[in-house]
Amino acid sequence: MRHDLDALQTALVADVDAVIDTVGRETDPRECFVRLGNARLLAVHYPVAYGGRGLSLACHTAVSERIGMRGIPDVPHLVTVQAVGCPILTFGTDRQRERWLAPIASGRLLASLLLSESDAGSDLTRITTVAVPDSEGWRLNGRKSWSMWTEWSGIGLCCARTREGTNRYDGISLFIVDLSAPGIAIERVNRAGAEPYYTVTFDDVRLDADALLGRLHRGWALLPVIIGFERGGFDYLTRAQTWLAAAEATLRRLPADRQADLAAGFAQRAFHVENARALSYHAAAAADGLEMDETTVSYAKLASGQAAQSVARWAGEELLPLGVQEDDDDMRALLGRAVAEAPELTVSGGARELQLDLISQDPAIGWTI
């Protein structure tokens, strides 16, 4: 048991800092990704042959967290390297690995996860996007919703129906889609206080035969693993830690009696954030290679989302009305964004209800961690 980062994780964090220190605050984050990729820091858990360092998932965890804590958008990194890259690494053919992983690890190729649809929500058995075989591969038609950073993405990992199926789980397949292909339209969906979503429409898009990831019609079995790669909770934790630091700075500027009034609420949120973080690190450290235990990940994701949400609500409901100076526009804006963004943190990437379902069925409830 370790209460903090180990020596290797600490060294990697310093490496990330050294790279980010070389770029200006106004630099496009995509340039940061390239520089981090040049230093082989974006996917340290990938094999060396694919641009990684052959390190553990726990090492990647420390790097990801640091990237987010330095203000670089961590969602495109996590989705690209974890949710899309790791399935290619795990389930892809040698040719797919060679084609896609090195560009991903280099930071020059970002990716989106194109799973959900507006009428399917979290229930991916209800998707209506279809892929029909043709002479050279497949033709893809349908519409995907709620993806993020898709304007930056060169590829998407998309699930589609490839046959009606003997049951609702059968007949779903996964495809790696080149998002520059003809017939693809990407539409931005603006949101209050948060990064936009994207809707991606496929109009008779041609995919080559090599686009299929994993076995035909058997994509459902891969989905929990793919989603698991995404669900470490780290994107939530970087928000939680950033918001907590802002809240603490605000609290410290208050008179002593006000600080004392709010101290209990602050301590509760700080404990929640710090130990949700520990659960996320634990889920990565306990992984079998790249494969994280689904239930352990549910604990980490839910605790992290709830911790971040709790900080935002506390800041919005108790601290902001009292504590932020009128002239501190930056702090007011940061905590205001936190309030707006917080509800999503128990919705995206698998809603709270799904995580609770998983945890309640765990035979070792109360013992898992």
Binding site: M1, H3, L251, Q259, A260, A263, A267, Y299, Q306, I369
Partner: protein, 295 residues
């Protein structure tokens, strides 16, 4: 950072569980521990006060909490080992403690405590009651305020660990009940009102346990618990209380008459008397953090 219990610690936990199963229902936590035959390990040596670190101690207490064993004696043993190495005659204290360990089977009641604050001499003075064989003649120990705070923090961690054991037991009992009961043709566990309440308790318990174990590991690595001790205690006691209420709710009417559930519920409500109310603990944690930073 990880929460993986290493093989040696897991062996200790497994041994405590076996000893717990073999012990009489009324046996105290100390008797369960003694049943392992390792109490001599606790005798202080010139090189160090105790063979078991804070994390190991917390793992032991969590197991004892799982069966609601009386923990007054075993916690006071730990406090003795925490305090007396700083006393005026540590060698004599070690010898006396060794005699006590060797002879304690002769009629000590589970309620005996080895050391306590001495109210008459002020809160910084620790004293062994004169009635405790072999130890009662030891000189008092006077600690400076920071040392007193550190001892008190470690005591909080021990009670917090015991609270986690109660929480875990409540959760298991509630899950088994929900899994075995059928309401309108469906298992109770299939109703989200039940399953989600259980799962949320499990998440809160996991967060509390992570906090406690990280704090205990930090102590073992020389990083004082500081504000993390009251925070871990608040989270752990709250988890025990929430899990106890959940168990009663899921047992329904039986929850207020089933002896096992009643025992767990009472054990959970005995915890704030030892730690203070969770609200006060959070306040203490917050104020200490504001004073000292997040160190």
């Amino acid at each position: 950072m990880d929460l993986i219990v290493d093989a040696a610690m897991q062996k200790l936990v497994d041994a405590i569980r076996e000893s717990d199963l073999a012990a009489a229902p009324e046996a105290s936590g100390w008797e369960v521990f003694d049943g392992l035959g390792i109490t001599e390990m606790l005798v202080p040596t010139p090189d160090g006060p105790a063979a078991l670190g804070q994390l190991a101690w917390c793992l032991v207490l969590e197991e004892l909490g799982g069966s609601c064993r009386d923990h007054s004696l075993i916690r006071s043993v730990r406090t003795f080992l925490d305090v007396y190495p700083h006393g005026p005659q540590p060698k004599r204290a070690a010898e006396a403690f060794g005699q006590w360990v060797g002879a304690h089977r002769a009629g000590l009641s589970p309620q005996t405590v080895l050391i306590e604050h001495s109210p008459a001499a002020g809160p910084r003075v620790w004293r062994t009651p004169s009635s405790v064989p072999a130890l009662g003649e030891l000189p008092d120990v006077v600690l400076d305020p920071s040392a007193v705070e550190a001892v008190a923090d470690r005591q909080l961690l021990a009670v917090a660990a015991y609270a986690l054991g109660i929480a875990r037991r409540c959760l298991r009992a509630a899950q088994e009940r929900a899994d075995g009961r059928t309401i309108a043709g469906r298992r109770l566990l299939e109703y989200q009102g039940t399953s989600h309440r259980l799962a949320q308790c499990a998440v809160d318990l996991a967060v509390a346990r992570a906090g406690l174990r990280r704090t205990a590991t930090g102590e073992d690595d020389g990083k004082p618990a500081a504000h993390r001790a009251p925070a871990a205690a608040a989270a752990s006691v709250t988890a025990a209380l929430d899990c106890a209420h959940t168990a009663v709710q899921i047992f329904g009417a039986a929850g207020t008459s089933n002896p096992e559930i009643i025992r767990l519920f009472r054990a959970a409500y005995a915890l704030p008397a030892l730690t203070g109310a969770p609200a006060e603990l959070w306040r203490s944690a917050g104020i200490r953090r504001m004073q000292n930073g997040s160190r």
